[in-house]
Amino acid sequence: MALTDLTIVRRSLHARLFSTCVTALTVGVAVALMLVLFSMRDAGRQAFARGSGNMHLIVSRDASPMVAVLNGIYYANPPARAIEWAKYEQIAASMPFAFAIPTQQGDSYRGFPVLATSTEFFSDFEPNLGEPWKFAAGRAFDKPFEVVVGAVAARETGLRVGSEIFLTHGIAQSRQLGQADAVAPHVHKEFAYAVVGVLEPTGSAHDRALFTDLTSTWIIHAHDRRKLTDPSIRTTTEDDLLETDRLITGIYLRVASRPGRDVTALLPAAFDALRRDPTITVAQPVQQIDALFRIVSNIDVIILAMAGVVMVSSAISIMLALYNSMEQRRRQVAVLRVLGCSRPRVFGLLVTEATIIGVLGAAIGLALAVAGALVAAGVLRNAIGLVVTPVFAPEITLAVLTGGILLSALAGIVPAVMAYRSSVADHLKPLG
């Protein structure tokens, strides 16, 4: 085996091991940052696209379509204004919908939102398009005071089929926020709910929710109302419900597709028809999610630009590392030249060295990115219940890695030119 240029490069990297490692790490961090940002951006979009599933429209009395989507699908806050049952029936009958599912929010269990709804929520609504609900255990509720628990809520609370729970009126966290006018949350101690089902994870915000039927929710609020006037009341049943107790906060709608007509043609018509009613807010979740990401994408650009700056600065640090080592290596370069190594070959050696640092950095970056994305996904899931599956799109990953390596190679050019120009004679003399 003869010596090769690669041997010389390897020895050179080895001789400056610390510098090599630190420089490669710098490149690695920059590459990782880029990869994670790209990955999270795509994964975040995917995560936000989850939850609306096969619904076409959401109706509520929130102030804006965006708020309607954030509240109705992502459980940001319980909608403040209710929709009367008569109004629901009017809307549901206004045109042929595949489903018109009433939803009501406002109660919670240990900080997890409770969505009161109808059984169609499980039979007709799909949280992700083409993926109906799956039960990890048990079944859907089919009578009052039965509750189904989302996957994350079940994991965090330890609830299982057969558990008995009491719901809290309002969201417990509002007390901590110190909102003076917020209704003080209280536990509906009189009404025990039985957990009858636990759902499989869907990757949507629904995983953090609990689901029960509308009637039981109406009953516990009617009970509160009745106790205000007569504290001696012990029980409230469905028979005690008044029309004003039958309130919901949102409607999930799916336009029925007629044979021979594309739903994309029906949807705008349905949307416009509903929008003519000034008392309700109607939103197309897909549009609102796009709008949300248009807003976020500005921040995206800034973050990507910052990652780019980190990338460039890491290239500069490669340049500096090689530049600083030039003093040490001028003699070596001179000796190689005397032995017959040509200037272009010396140039090649240094650019190769920088490129190898870039390759090492890219590898470190990829490893860091995969690990980092998993950590970030965990944080997002635990902190805001956003289920993000880090996806590294092959073409973007390849582009970032190649970019990192090319930038490193480019950074090797300055010291390589120095070595190219370096006078042999001057650096063969004795030291000192």
Binding site: M1, A2, L3, T7, I8, H14, R331, V335, V424, A425
Partner: protein, 255 residues
């Protein structure tokens, strides 16, 4: 010390003609640092060039090796093994140097981070010698020069052994000419003696010509042929001044 064999009909290992050199940036009125009308070294011949420091000894060697360019207003012809070194450009000259010229330095200039064997192999990697022969060639050469720990890093070897590695490296490609630049300056007298024996014997055995520059007076007796660089210059000036284009046989007087 036996007289070096001189074959008049063979191509000289080194032939210098009308060589004049000033460092780049020097004024046209400055004297030439090197000004040699003619100097010839027969195959396997050994010659000592003496002179104080700063008199251009190293520069002459660098010119011969072609690591310093000979550009206008500098002029002259330097042939090694019959090839005009400065007619070759860039990589071609480097390749020529790899194959035909070996250099030995005062500070050895061994490559750090490379074993003794690899230092010798480094000289072979720039030559046209087939790569698969490199390891065996280098090992055999080191063995013949008495280096057993060929895998040792140079800084783990004694100074004397380091010099052997440097000599082995200079001879690796069986060059026609070895240029030795103060090869004993960092050695004590005893080691200097050993080193010079080594260099001279190795060159003699391989039929390689040796041009050694040194200011060590003890070296003189080792070389039947020797000259002071200043005298080469002076002789040239006497023989040819002021016209520089005339024939220059004066240098040969110093054979």
């Amino acid at each position: 010390m036996p007289e070096s064999p001189v074959h008049q009909d063979a191509t000289p290992a080194l032939r210098i003609a009308d060589l004049r050199f000033r460092y780049p940036g020097a004024r046209p009125t400055d004297p030439w640092i090197i000004d040699i009308a003619a100097l010839e070294l027969a195959p396997a011949e050994q010659m000592l060039l003496t002179g104080g420091s700063g008199r251009g000894k190293s520069t002459l060697l660098h010119l011969i090796a072609g690591v310093v360019d000979l550009e206008a207003p500098n002029a002259g012809r330097i042939e090694v093994a019959g090839r005009n070194v400065h007619a070759l450009r860039g990589p071609a000259r480097d390749a020529f140097r790899a194959r035909h010229i070996g250099m030995v330095f005062q500070t050895f200039n061994l490559l750090h981070g490379f074993s003794a064997l690899e230092n010798v192999m480094a000289a072979l990697m720039f030559s046209d010698i087939p790569p698969r022969e490199h390891r065996a060639l280098a090992a055999a050469l080191l063995e013949s020069l008495g280096i057993e720990r060929t895998d040792a890093a140079p800084d783990r070897l004694s100074v004397g052994q380091q010099q052997r590695v440097a000599v082995a490296r200079a001879l690796a490609c069986s060059p026609e000419l070895v240029l030795a630049d103060e090869p004993t300056a960092s050695l004590d007298p005893e080691n200097a003696d050993i080193a010079m024996d080594l260099i001279q014997n190795a060159c003699r055995t391989r039929g390689t010509a040796l041009l050694c520059v040194s200011h060590d007076p003890a070296m003189a007796e080792r070389f039947p042929r020797r000259a002071r660089l200043d005298d080469l210059h002076t002789a040239h000036l006497h023989a040819a001044a002021p016209g520089l284009a005339a024939g220059r046989e004066g240098g040969e007087a110093w054979r």
